[in-house]
């Protein structure tokens, strides 16, 4: 017998429509930027009044070639598709690390620090042990990442629960702590590669690397599967488990949750620890995966922990949405590199587009009034609540 799931009865359409339109409008505004930055377009603009079509066709050329390169770089070939998936993998995990606390009414800005901890722990297990079979070594490294990230995530949770310290402040501060700590670790004998003076760890044993099933050009690896499984687990946890019920109740109305006998303290700590574990897995993938250097470096995360915030916002804090958002941003980034190489349009455009998407998500009224969507305001209030908690 199929049973109706209470939380899934809310109308899905406007919820889905706003993020999609946000991405499209951001791409359109990005096109304006491309046109304005294009030399041919700007020089044609000088005689716009006499020959307006010159400007328009120059702009069209610039935009269409840039976006064509972007598209083919993201999806145009199996290599391109693989790069999109490789880029998306840590974004999905970092996004989930924001999405879970989000449902508990918490804003986790600490994905970066948690990711660094997870990557360092995975790398440590990876290069310290030798001679283990892959089926033992790789899971052990992932477990280390899960635990290390989880611990780093739990700290702001405990601080919030015990002292009321706002998690936004504490997670940012822990990010600031984790960077230098990693740097310091990397030059100790515990980590540093022999014969090196720069901060880089020893090489991870092959038995702890993410296997990549395809040939040498196709870099997508087992990490993608880990990310997708994590997303399914998060969906199950939030929507189906009693812990998820608590997380949702505390996030939606903490006073009522406590009045019903739930522990807001426990929920806060647990959801932050789970988030840290997810970010930690993301970090592990970046160290052990084909996209990484097979070693821990001081900059291996390249800010993905922060990008997780944008991914979760576009994904509206839902597991499925976060996967979709991770894929979209992964495609934009992978395609952006190709676009820069082929048309000279700087990859920074992608950063701008990403920021515009989040602006439209945070201020959904802009999109809703642009396309006359009946406002339900759900996302706007959720974002505000995350901050006010």
């Amino acid at each position: 017998m199929t049973t109706p799931v209470p939380t899934r009865r809310t109308p899905l359409r406007p919820e889905l429509l706003t993020p999609v339109l946000a991405v499209l409008v951001a791409l359109a505004l990005g096109a304006v930027l491309v046109a304005v930055a294009d030399e041919d377009t700007v020089s044609a603009l000088g005689y716009f009044t006499s020959r307006p079509m010159d400007t328009l066709s120059a702009a069209w050329d610039a935009v269409s070639s840039a976006y064509a390169a972007l598209f083919s770089g993201a999806l145009g070939s199996s290599v391109a598709l693989s790069e999109t998936l490789v880029t998306a993998t840590p974004l999905i995990l970092a996004g989930l690390a924001v999405a879970v606390p989000f449902r508990a009414g918490l804003f986790n800005i600490g994905g970066e620090g948690q990711l660094l901890a997870g990557g360092a722990a995975a790398g440590f297990v990876g290069f310290t042990f030798h001679g283990l079979p892959l089926l033992v070594h790789l899971p052990l490294a992932l477990l280390a990442a899960l635990v290390a990230g989880g611990l780093v995530g739990a700290v702001p949770g405990v601080l919030k629960a015990r002292t009321g310290a706002h998690e936004v402040i504490t997670t940012i501060m822990i990010n600031n702590i984790m960077g230098p700590v990693l740097l310091a670790l990397l030059v100790t004998s515990l980590f540093q590669a022999p014969g090196r003076s720069d901060p880089i760890s020893r090489s991870v044993a092959s038995t702890a690397r993410m296997p990549s099933p395809a040939g040498s050009d196709i870099r997508v690896d087992l990490g993608l599967l880990v990310a997708l499984l994590a997303a399914v687990a998060v969906w199950w946890l939030i929507e189906r488990s009693t812990l998820g019920f608590q997380i949702r109740a505390v996030g939606a109305n903490a006073t009522a949750a406590v009045t019903a006998g739930m522990s807001a303290t426990r929920t806060t700590v647990l959801s932050m620890a789970i988030a840290g574990g997810l970010a930690g897995l993301g970090g592990a993938g970046m160290v052990l995966g084909a996209s990484g250097q097979g070693a821990v470096t001081s900059s291996f995360s390249s800010g993905v922990g922060f990008d997780g915030i944008t991914v979760a916002l576009l994904g509206r804090g839902k597991a499925g949405g976060t996967v979709a958002a991770g894929l979209v941003f992964g495609a934009l980034r992978a395609g952006g590199l190709r676009m820069q190489a082929r048309t000279g349009t700087p990859v920074d455009l992608i950063v701008v587009i990403q920021a515009l998407v989040i602006l439209f998500i945070a201020a959904p009224r802009v999109i809703q009034s642009l396309f006359r969507i009946r406002a339900n305001g759900s996302m706007g209030t959720t974002v505000a609540k995350g901050w006010g908690a």
Binding site: P6, F245, Q246, T259, A260
Partner: protein, 511 residues
């Protein structure tokens, strides 16, 4: 001022809040506006005060059509409004609050405190609304704060005053003072629109009563001739039983025993002051009192939401003082919290989820950490039927239900467990008459089934109608309980701090 509303219609997505409302307020008239919560009273008054714009219809003042784009226009036209929730700056003085926005000046932009205080003193004497202009507002009792609100409107020369549920926060005595002041304003030629859902108040104050139901004026009545039953029927749309019918209580063993309970606030001041109380199986004990006299803290301490500073709470001989909230609930205590929207319900959750909110990880709603949606839905269907919860289906978001139906969700949840003790705070606040009738009957049924029931309510009529014994909380101290029947004015005096000895009352533990 003669005010006329013609065909006022206001639509919100999915509802018609006001449906061609016609209303005339004659000069010097107290016009009662009666209706249940959600009947459209507030919407109508917000249109009149310029906060909303009507979709159709017009407002005429002394025969001239007017159009308001904001409260500023309404005030300029001579309309004043005293909101249910006061709009006062707490750390300003009375005079500063009254003149705020129209301050008397001396020289270039210097606030003239003396002129302001003199003006407010004069106004206060002229209208029989005694206040100290120099007093700081947040230090004043609620009744006086309300006077400040009225003076604010009068200072702006309001000739029509809207009073929105003015007695909700007052003691009976303060309400009487308010009524005297309103009569005085009326004699001075001002018109008053008086909004309330309490029939008694309309009968003692209004010259004419208009009854609003589902956005429409369904009748106008003369308070001298209309009976309570007739007004209630107009308001609800069907005959209503205004008297709680219950048999004599048969109290047996003590269930709840509170001993010397004291709760101090952060500043070390007692919110609950050495309270001892016993509630027996098969009786309803009611605690009356003006809000803010320690009711919230007492109930929180009894139900495990707050640890008392000193004292103990025993249930059936077991000390539950240091139990967690969850343990308290699951050891046989049902608790209807005072504010359903902040404490009782998760608005974004469905009716079904809210009906098992406090048993989220217990059989049959969960097994091995996994929610069982079929059990949750089946339970919800059953409770919705048995408690007459009007909802499209049990998966509807609870926040979309009416106040009365939301309260029924809370009551159904708390009453559906096996309870030895039921604690109900404000069980019918903001609930329509029909639902009140229903919830009261359920409370009595719980008593007759052998539960010990504690009712805490600031609605004195409710406490007197339900309780077998009545106690009063005043500044954290408990007076009583006393066996019913008790005269209403006696309880009213206790609520205002009257001395039980002078009222010739002697406490009775059981009867």
């Amino acid at each position: 001022m003669r005010l006329e509303l013609k065909g006022i219609t206001k639509r919100f997505p999915g509802v018609i809040a006001n449906d061609h409302v016609d209303l005339v307020v004659e000069p010097g008239e107290v016009h009662g506006l009666l209706g249940e919560n959600g009947a459209g009273k507030s919407t109508l008054m917000n249109i009149l005060y310029g906060l909303y714009h009507a979709d159709e219809g017009e407002i005429l003042i002394d025969g001239e059509p007017v159009s308001f784009t904001g409260p500023g226009d309404a005030i300029a036209a001579g309309i004043g409004m005293v909101h249910q929730h006061f709009q006062l700056v707490g750390n300003f003085s009375v005079a500063e609050n009254v003149v705020l926005g129209a301050e008397p000046m001396r020289g270039a932009g210097r606030y003239d405190r003396r002129a302001a205080e003199a003006a407010v003193a004069e106004l206060s004497v002229r209208h029989g609304l005694p206040v100290d202009p120099a007093a700081i507002v947040e230090e004043l009792p609620v009744g006086i704060q309300q006077r400040v609100e009225i003076l604010k409107a009068l200072y702006r020369d309001a000739s029509l005053l809207i009073l929105d549920e003015p007695t909700a926060v007052l003691t009976p005595q303060e309400a009487d003072d308010l009524f005297v002041a309103v009569k005085g304003l009326q004699e001075a030629g001002r018109s008053i629109v008086f909004i309330s859902h309490k029939l008694r108040e309309h009968r003692s104050l209004a010259d004419r009563i208009s009854v609003l139901r589902r956005g429409r004026i369904v009748g106008t009545a003369d308070p001298r001739t209309a009976s309570d039953d007739m007004l209630a029927e107009l308001m609800v749309g069907r005959p209503v039983d205004l008297v709680v019918s219950k048999g004599t209580a048969a109290p047996s063993e003590p269930v709840l025993q509170v001993t010397s309970l004291t709760v101090l606030d952060a500043a070390g001041q007692p919110r609950v002051d050495d309270v001892s109380l016993t509630v027996h199986r098969g009786e309803i004990v009611g605690i009356a009192g003006v809000e803010g006299n320690g009711q919230t803290e007492l109930v929180r301490a009894i139900t495990g939401l707050q640890k008392p500073t000193t004292g103990t709470v025993d249930m059936l001989g077991r000390d539950i003082t240091s139990m967690s909230r969850r343990e308290v609930l699951r050891s046989g205590v049902g608790h209807v919290p005072e504010d359903r929207t902040t404490e009782g319900l998760v608005g974004e959750f469905s009716v079904a989820e809210n009906l098992m909110l406090d048993l989220w990880n217990a059989e049959p709603f969960a097994a091995h950490g996994v929610l069982r949606f079929d059990a949750i839905a089946a339970h919800a269907q059953e409770e919705a039927l048995s408690f007459d919860i009007r909802t499209p289906d049990v998966h509807t978001r609870v926040s979309t239900l009416s106040g009365g139906n939301q309260q029924k969700v809370v009551v159904a949840r708390e009453f559906s467990r096996e309870n030895d003790l039921l604690v109900c705070s404000q069980p019918t606040r903001g609930v329509d008459v029909g639902s009140i009738e229903y919830i009261h009957a359920r409370i009595v049924a719980q008593r007759d089934n052998g539960a010990a029931v504690l009712i805490v309510s600031s609605e004195l009529d409710e406490v007197l109608a339900l309780a077998d014994r009545v106690a009063v909380l005043y500044r954290g101290q408990l007076r009583g309980p006393y066996a019913m029947p008790l005269a209403k004015d006696v309880v009213g005096q206790l609520m205002a701090g009257g001395d039980p000895a002078e009222l010739e009352l002697s406490p009775q533990e059981t009867r």
